[in-house]
Amino acid sequence: MLSAQNFGESGKMKEYHYTGPVEHRFSPYAFNGGTVLAVAGEDFAIVASDTRLSEGYSIHSRDSPKCYKLTDTTVIGCSGFHGDCLTLTKIIDARLKMYKHSNNKTMTSGAIAAMLSTILYSRRFFPYYVYNIIGGLDEQGKGAVYSFDPVGSYQRDTYKAGGSASAMLQPLLDNQIGFKNMEGVEHVPLSKDKAVQLVKDVFISAAERDVYTGDALRICIITKEGIQEQNIPLRKD
């Protein structure tokens, strides 16, 4: 039986109250939420992200997209810790300029991906807390998606979701684009319009169930004509 005598002044139970030193450490990281998605097609690529910037229980901004245009044929989506996202994109922009000045040509998507891997690995022991996905066109004009982990491991994919709702979106993409776990279905290649509609539907689902995803959706469609942007509103709650 718990009696009033067992409780100390602050209401904590006397016998089970820790009284030693406690370590509080400054954390250099914060989690700012957000979801990023990229899909590669035959001659196009799509990079999409939501625009909500949150921290804990607050929303800092409803208009903070996570797609950044790098070149005319490449867009990167970065989610995780916003401070590291900003620094990382600044560093990538600087390196792109330097490459252009030394080599007199723009970096290709594959080269940007390889470079980003080494940039991320140089911080192996103090990582950039960013989940990156690069979408663009390769040298042959085909769509390419490269997905990264925070320390630089990467590979080329057809589609990838990253960020807070990635675990919810990736299985849906596996089923709709990869035709996984479906029997007797014809594997139709993805057209650009169908891909854009799928991305919109997928983000609407994410906004329903993930608290860090919502407000608006920014889609960047990359084709050989250039990069086209669309903004679609999502749930604001």
Partner: protein
Amino acid sequence: MALAAVCGVQCASEPFGQIFSGKQARLFDRPNHFSFGTKIQEFAVPVGNEPSSFLRSCDREEGVRIELDHGTTTLAFKFRHGVIVAVDSRASAGKYLASNDVNKVIEINPYLLGTMSGSAADCQYWERLLAKECRLYRLRNNHRISVAAASKLLSNMMLGYRGMGLSMGSMICGWDKEGPGLYYVDDNGTRLSGRMFSTGCGNGYAYGVVDSGYEEDMTVEEAYELGCRGIAHATHRDAYSGGSVNMYHMREDGWIKVCKEDVSDLIHRYREGMF
């Protein structure tokens, strides 16, 4: 001396050695990303913190979870007709499956292969660096690097960062003047030559299967079947291995990629033979 600087040769008075001198490469708390073309590796390290426990300590914070891609089964064995290398293709980040379609074999040159297990980023980075060093060796010495030397380069790289939390278990397989070569190298700096190795969290299952079916004078078909079985059964029981089996055969005239088979199909095939 201008030529020495271009070739990257350090003078004896230089306090910080390059990575192969056995000392650690420079560690900064703020890496200078704008000193491009640096010949010495620079890694950022959190100030005042022990690097290997820093990432784990971050997990306590609300929502911040830095999970790196991990997990594998790989195996390789020598037999009369060369070396068989078989790997799975799964990468997991914590309990989330980041990808079921990762390439865990790096093709260093037509006579040298490296496998990857442990942390995906560590393996990709250091083996890519090994490929660069092997290429430079070939250009400087006009003959291909031996398997023993290549594996020594990799193990020295690992020794330079011992204790800092790298995670890599790799097998360097090749065919050089001594014949077929197979070395196991890991993040502690261990370097072992042997006839058969398996690495990764599924290695116990693979060892059991391959040990029971191994014979020195197997035919090539039997060896392919054994490699596939080893990986397939390991993926069946180990949660962190799966996807498909990528198999390579290292022969006297170079390696060939044998197959890429989905493990679910393989397990069904084996099941049918059982009952």
